[in-house]
Symmetry: none
Subunit: 209 residues, 2 copies
C-alpha cells in the first residue's frame, strides 16, 4: 500500500528538513523551542502550527511528551533479515501488526530462511521440558498451518502462547511440555484458538531484557 503524502509549503518543508537533519545529527529530535529559535521565531506556537500541519499531512508522527517527533521516512534496507520482536498481542489484529512490535533485530540470512519471521518473548514455564524457558525468545515463522509434532505459536483468546501441536484420537490438542499443565483440546466446543506460527528456533539472550 502506498500512502500519498500531501504537498508541503516551503516553510513547512524547511521545518521538516530541519527536524530530519537535527535528528540525524543528534540521535534525537529537537524541542519545539529549539526549532523556533533556529528559525528566528519568538513563539513556540508558530512551530506548533507547522508541526500540526506536518502531522496532518502525514509527514510526521507524534507522541505526547518532549521531543516525541518521528519523521515519516522509508525504513532503511540491509542485506540481512530484519526480524521484528512481537510483544503483547491485541485482539483481532494480525500477529505482525505494527502495534505489536517492540523492536527488531538483524539476523544472518543463514539463520532465518523462511518468509515471515518474528521473535516472540515467552511467558510462563509451560514448555520447560522442551528447553523453552520464561523470557526466551522463540524464532517463529508466521503461518496458519502446522504438522502434528510441531511447536507452534497459537492465539488463545487473544493471548499468544507456545505449545506443541499434536494429533490424538479425539482430535488435535495443544500440549504443554510441563506436567503441571493440562493439554488444550482444539475442538469446536473448546476455546477460541488459532495457530499463527511455527517455532523454528529459540534464542536465550538475558541481556536483551
Amino acid at each position: 500500500m502506498y500512502t500519498m503524502l500531501q504537498e508541503l509549503t516551503t516553510r513547512q518543508a524547511t521545518i521538516l528538513n530541519f527536524v530530519e537533519r537535527y535528528t540525524a545529527m543528534h540521535g534525537f529530535p529537537p524541542t519545539v523551542r529549539e526549532i523556533a529559535k533556529h528559525h528566528g521565531m519568538k513563539s513556540p506556537n508558530g512551530v506548533k502550527k507547522h508541526l500540526d500541519a506536518l502531522t496532518r499531512k502525514g509527514h510526521l508522527t507524534r507522541k505526547s511528551g518532549a521531543r516525541a517527533l518521528q519523521c515519516a521516512q522509508s525504513t532503511p534496507r540491509h542485506e540481512s533479515v530484519s526480524v521484528p520482536i512481537i510483544g503483547r498481542v491485541a485482539a483481532g489484529q494480525p500477529i505482525l501488526a505494527e502495534e505489536h512490535r517492540l523492536g527488531e533485530v538483524t539476523l544472518d540470512r543463514s539463520l532465518v530462511r523462511w518468509n515471515q519471521p518474528f521473535l516472540l518473548k515467552v511467558k510462563g514455564d509451560s514448555m520447560i521440558n522442551a528447553g523453552i524457558l520464561e523470557g526466551d525468545y522463540v524464532l517463529v515463522n508466521a503461518q496458519a498451518q502446522a504438522q502434528p509434532g510441531d511447536i507452534v505459536v497459537a492465539l488463545l483468546d487473544d493471548d499468544a502462547t507456545v505449545k506443541r501441536f499434536l494429533q490424538t484420537p479425539d482430535g488435535y490438542v495443544l500440549q504443554p511440555e510441563n506436567p503441571n499443565y493440562a493439554p488444550i483440546p482444539l475442538r469446536p466446543d473448546g476455546p477460541t484458538a488459532r495457530i499463527v506460527g511455527k517455532v523454528n528456533g529459540v534464542l536465550r539472550l538475558p541481556h536483551l531484557n
Copy 2:
C-alpha cells in the same frame, strides 16, 4: 583517534539495549521514566544511575532536556559482528584458534556486545535442567574468570564442556544441571580443568545442523 569503550555490566547492557531498540523503533529516545517502567523499576533515580554509568563509560552522550540521549554506536547502524562457531578443541591451543573454527555467523551488534564472542555446539544433556539441550549453540564470551552461579565453558582434559560454576564449602565445582551427572570438583588433585568462557546466551537453530 579511537575511543575505547569500557565494559558494561549485564544490567547496563540491558538498559543500553532498550534505549537503542526504542530509538530505532520510535525515532526518538525514551524518557527516564519510560526506561524505569519497562524494566520494572519504581524510581527514576535507578535509571539515572545507569545512564550516568553508560555516559561515563562512553556508550552514551547526553544533552540537557527531555529524551536527550544519543547512543555512541547509533551512527554505524545495523552494525553486526562475525561470531565464529567453534568445533572440536585441540590440546594446548586457545579456544578461539583458527583450527577450531567450523564457520561463522553474523549477528546483530545489539545481541553481542562483549569482546570475544564465539558459538559452541552443545554435546550431551548435562545441562538439560537449565534449558540447554543437545545440539543447541551456546553464545559465549571467551574469558578465563567467572562468577559463582555463572554458566561457563570449561576445558576438561581438552574437551569443551558446559557447566554451572559454583562455590561450595569444599571449593569450586562444575555443576551439571541434570541429576544423572555428578558435580566435578575443581581442586589441585582433581582433573585438569580451565574456564575458557562465560555463557551469555543460547541459540537453538535446528535447521542449521
